[in-house]
Subunit: 492 residues, 2 copies
């Protein structure tokens, strides 16, 4: 077949890489660290975009577009932010190539076309956007500003993995401006909730909402909130972040407004983003050794129909029935693919569409035509059933809903089973090594302990869960007092 | 008001710039040559994207995403293309900033983080895409590839204008690969037709389809086709291009396939694109001295409702009626805005929504409530009529259709009136100076004549119209024989 992938237990990392490539989701390009998102992968990303974009608009946001380049002096204005990204920036220094005088047909950078000021390819857009907001905001009447941007960003990562960590990636970044701290905090939490709702309802991926430790927060933020998901290898993945920026960027860019009381104050800000990294999360959360398992709400194809035939005549008869069926399914808003290739056998097609994660497969042969039946297979459980043809159209939407729910429940049971309370550092290390997953443990709240734990276990504080109960305890590492457990894990 | 714009006759160029800014479409950023597309402008672009994306998918195309950066050696592979864009490329040379040892809080480019090979920020993606297609194509079974990409590109323009010419712009670029020249040519023409249909049906902007002269074609193409529109100042604007690439990029990147006959051959290609430049075309094609005139099919807001009230009580009564009306209009798929601000007078609001080009404005006051009427004003003709409230919902969709048609007809009459046949070079110059617009004239087909005419008149060959009749004549410049007229104009 040439399309087989290694099993997860064999080599999880290789399983992931091969799955991404063989399912036609993405591949490495010849440009260092940059990926090509292939049509099938991109169509899943488009579905994510549509759902998120609607959720953003339903919560009052509008889209806009800001420049790709940030002049160095603008980039360095917010020092924390600049320091956080300086080491991984692509820098434009020249604006022209010229013919190489030594080699015909070759080009060299024209030294005379050196920029007076270098341009940073945006790793994130707070700087360029707050520099713009300065011109848009004078009075409380100009607030709030609720803007989102769909864009590409570049962070010069040394070790890259398709979707999970690439030098260039696609994302959305919300950037809002408010008259009060309270309103900005509410916005930060609202967007965290939007992300969590999206992850659970569309990606069928349970997430834990929480706050980052000081050591893990976004450079330039006052507080960073995140949603954390669990992958099948027991490693955590940060799936989205929402930052309360306080007045940091308003201070850096001198963005002030006159309040209702006539007093000048700095504007309060938030920013929040999810990226094509979600593609990696989606793949790793649900897929199995046969390939992708896609939640119906994000599947580019809901139903694939494979004809079982030995002659052109049989195919013609099946096609007549399938055309009718497809039309009826499409009327229900479903995306249907009829795989009528005569170059491949049904078994090959079954494997291919399983690899691509299509939630429901229908198979129809001559005997089905006689009996008025169709074989219905679901991708998530691999269960097959024979259904009456006249019932298919009515039953498929409910089946898809059931698949969506089942995928979520399965991921949730898996994840819940991988949340372990530990009360000693020995247990902490043992659980991480033997079981993996999330470890809920007491922490003394200091950076030193956080760093020491990370150095000794490779586990980081994923978040301080928002729903963490008050509970007196002793830090697993230092023994110092702690008032609630935080969430640790090894992570992507 | 502070929102007034100069008239077109006063200063067309200033009218355009001020309109773009005051209608909240876009503004210059502090990054040289780059614009900020503001939410209202971006929402029009989103409408364009949606319509085009659907047309691309309806003709069998899928979306994908390729890297922003092109390594220099890859960029220079297709020599014509490289030469065409080399002089206007942003070049990434480094991947890290570091603290400036001389000035605290400042960053400098880290000389140790110099790239071995410079990266060109894509001015267009043929190189990176054909370098990828090489891996995807072995056999005729892998063809055709019908891919589109929505992306940002960078061309280092020295003189920029909002939407019309900016260093960074947004666009879509289709890149297709085919087994035969014939199929690729058909694709080229099909996409030209898609662009023309979009321009006329959605933008309400008549266009002339044609082929570029050798001197004006895309670097790396065998043939470039285009759609040409006429702006209100008598200057032409190229609104979209579709290129037949022959085997040029397949040759440059060694992309071969085995045909049905078992023979190896190079793949045939096309590429085609439209950009945020269309925003400039849309604005200049229809707008007037009071502001934007938007065709309903691309208007983010179809209907704005302005209440006429003197007391909160009156506003409350009007609001009740408006809520009902808005809900009924929205049910018809219309976007409705109720401008109930108590900080501005109706006259101010009327002017503001005229500036923003909302196709239909409803005004409702206490007397309307008594009489069961509403004042309906259309943006295109400024006509007002009093309509019975119960008829509004049924009549608005037809009114919007009428506006869409009327805007197109007006632009078409204007454009048709500005197509002049000329038969001498004196007439050629006189028509360009006195009347402007398109000039249809005989041309001897030589580059020398094309260049001479451009130097002496600033007019370029916009295209050789596809529907040009065979007609014997003499070149207006050289007097040499010609077999059909070509389209000249001064252009954006």
């Amino acid at each position: 077949m040439g399309k087989e992938i290694p099993s997860r237990s064999e080599d999880y990392s290789l399983w992931y890489n091969e799955l991404v490539k063989k399912a036609d989701l993405a591949e490495h390009s010849d440009v260092r660290g940059c990926m090509v998102i292939k049509p099938y992968g991109y169509s899943i990303w488009e579905k994510m975009q549509q759902a998120l974009d609607k959720m953003f608009k339903d919560t009052g946001h509008v889209n806009a577009y800001f420049p790709l380049f940030v002049p160095k002096s603008m980039f360095e204005a917010e020092e924390q932010n600049a320091e956080g990204f300086a080491k991984e920036c692509a820098i434009v220094t020249h604006y022209r190539l010229k013919n190489d005088p030594n080699t015909k047909g070759k080009l060299i950078v024209d030294p005379e076309a050196k920029l007076e000021e270098e341009l940073v390819v945006r790793p994130t857009s707070e700087a360029i956007i707050w520099n713009t907001y300065k011109k848009w905001i004078q009075s409380y009447r100009d607030l709030p500003i609720l803007i989102n941007q769909w864009a590409n960003v570049v962070r010069w990562e040394m070790r890259t993995r398709l979707f999970l960590r690439t030098a260039e990636f696609l994302w959305q970044e919300g950037h809002t401006a408010h008259a009060t701290a309270d309103e900005a905090v509410k916005e930060t939490i609202q967007m965290l909730d939007v992300y969590a709702a999206f992850a659970e309802a569309f990606m069928a991926m349970p997430v834990i909402k929480g706050k980052k430790s000081e050591g893990e927060k976004f450079p330039g933020a006052v507080d960073t909130y995140c949603i954390e998901a669990m992958m099948q290898d027991g490693k955590a993945l940060q799936a989205g972040t929402s930052h309360f920026l306080g007045q940091n960027f308003a201070n850096a860019f001198n963005v002030q407004f006159t309040g209702k009381d006539g007093k000048l104050d700095y504007v309060w800000g938030t920013s929040w983003g999810v990226s094509t990294r979600l593609m990696g999360a989606l793949i790793m959360a649900h897929s199995d050794d046969d390939g992708l398992v896609l939640p119906p709400k994000l599947a580019p194809i809901h139903v694939v129909i494979v004809p079982i035939f030995r002659s052109d005549e049989e195919l013609t008869k099946i096609t007549l029935k399938v055309d009718e069926l497809s039309a009826a399914l499409r009327k229900q808003g479903l995306s249907v693919k009829f795989d009528n290739r005569d170059t491949h056998k049904p078994g090959f097609k079954f494997a291919e569409w399983e690899l691509k994660g299509v939630p429901v497969r229908l198979a129809i042969g001559p005997r089905d035509l006689e009996n008025g039946t169709v074989e219905v297979a679901r991708r998530d459980t691999k269960e097959k059933q024979v259904m009456k043809l006249e019932e298919v159209v009515a039953k498929i939407p409910a089946l898809l809903e059931d698949i969506q729910k089942n995928i979520f429940q399965k991921a949730k049971s898996f994840r819940d089973n991988l949340i372990t309370n530990v009360d000693s550092f020995d247990d902490f290390k043992r659980v991480l090594d033997e079981k993996g997953g999330f470890v809920l443990a007491h922490w003394d709240g200091t950076k030193e302990t956080e760093v020491a734990i990370k150095e000794q276990t490779k586990a980081t504080i994923r978040c301080i869960p928002l729903d963490a109960a008050n509970e007196q305890g002793a830090c697993v590492y230092s023994g110092k007092p702690s008032s609630r457990r935080v969430l640790f894990a090894r992570a992507y």
